[in-house]
Subunit: 217 residues, 2 copies
């Protein structure tokens, strides 16, 4: 079992290695744990520990083939092509549908849903669109594993229940509604929360400066 | 010093307590570490440890006044009203500008920037808009502390340098470009990365099921 925090960091490394290979920078051939740590702002020790979950992290200072390391991470994390759907076709939903970076990723968006049938008629896209009441059926039928939930807060719970009924495996939740499930993996993207964390980091800096200034008095 | 991970979780708790108070649910008067842990899907032990950074976490089973706990977290994290700017007025940028949840938060968006002057003329908003070349000057002048960077990947570096010159303190980075700074707090929102993490969680489930099935043979 790879712990959750390590799974997250290994996913970050996988994404980083993909970017490096795409950009063909100096690191595109060989890369070390130290260099990965530096690029991601995490301790070399942590990188090495995470890589040890892949079986054989190598000795300190060892350099890995960038391409091979990316492939090993993919294999050990069970990464594979997965189908995804966008729930809610407002601004964020349509942005995700058009997000061209997905084309080079392993995530393929195969359906979009909205409760507003007029909206479905208006949006121009190659991706098939459906009314929200068909979520369960289409998710099952197309084998969709991941959902981007960008509906209104009011309809989030209903959409969630339909996704659950369709057997969805993971949800990226853009709504402020807290979703709970034992079976479904859920990650939340919350602009307010992210802003609060940044505000706290600024706040702690300020408190520290103040305390240093007080000590000098 | 409150560690980074605890700062993040305390910010999550602060946001949660705010939601509870707003919704007036059963927890709006008194709340325990255990209940917070349950709502957030983290261990009670971790909640209690995080709260201990506030000075005096109380004994196991103790219930806190929800309102007071929220206020203490705000005080100890140095949370305060902060001015923010949106850089790049594409779909994500304009969504953030219109995001009505900000009005009830302590973050006030006071400026928007785009390199396309025509776009600035077209967008209807009460928030003052400026061309991107004025980022440094306006950030300094208005005392803007937080930036939502939603520019194109190509212009991300230039915008970042201008924000740095203006003395910005924190950036929520929506571009796939890796930003590095010793002075500025940076958090990344990356849809591809989030999808990859979810894909890894599904992948690890699948590998585990496979290994259980193999062991049964």
């Amino acid at each position: 079992m790879i712990p959750k925090a390590a799974t997250e960091r290994l996913s970050v490394m996988y994404t980083l290695l993909g970017q490096i290979l795409e950009n063909g920078t100096d690191d595109a051939k060989l890369i070390s744990s130290k260099r990965i740590g530096k690029l991601l702002g995490i301790l070399t020790h942590t990188v090495r520990k995470d890589l040890s979950f892949l079986g054989g992290a190598g000795s300190p200072g060892k350099r890995f083939s960038t391409k091979e390391l990316k492939d090993v991470i993919a294999e050990k994390l069970g990464l594979a092509k997965r189908k995804a759907a966008v729930i809610g076709l407002g601004k964020i939903g349509t942005t995700i549908m058009e997000y061209d970076k997905f084309s080079s990723s392993e995530i393929e968006i195969v359906a979009g849903f909205d409760s507003d049938i007029n909206r479905i008629d208006t949006i121009k896209t190659k991706i098939p669109l459906f009314p929200s009441r068909e979520i369960g059926e289409i998710v099952k039928q197309k084998g969709i594993e991941i959902a981007f939930l960008t509906s209104s807060p009011e309809s989030a719970k209903v959409c969630f229940e339909r996704l659950e009924a369709g057997g969805i495996k993971a949800i990226l939740n853009f709504t402020p509604i807290i979703l709970e499930s034992e079976k479904i993996h859920i990650r939340n993207i919350d602009f307010i929360l992210e802003s609060t964390i940044l505000s706290a980091m600024i706040g702690l800096d300020n408190l520290e400066k103040k305390s240093i200034a007080n000590n000098k008095k």
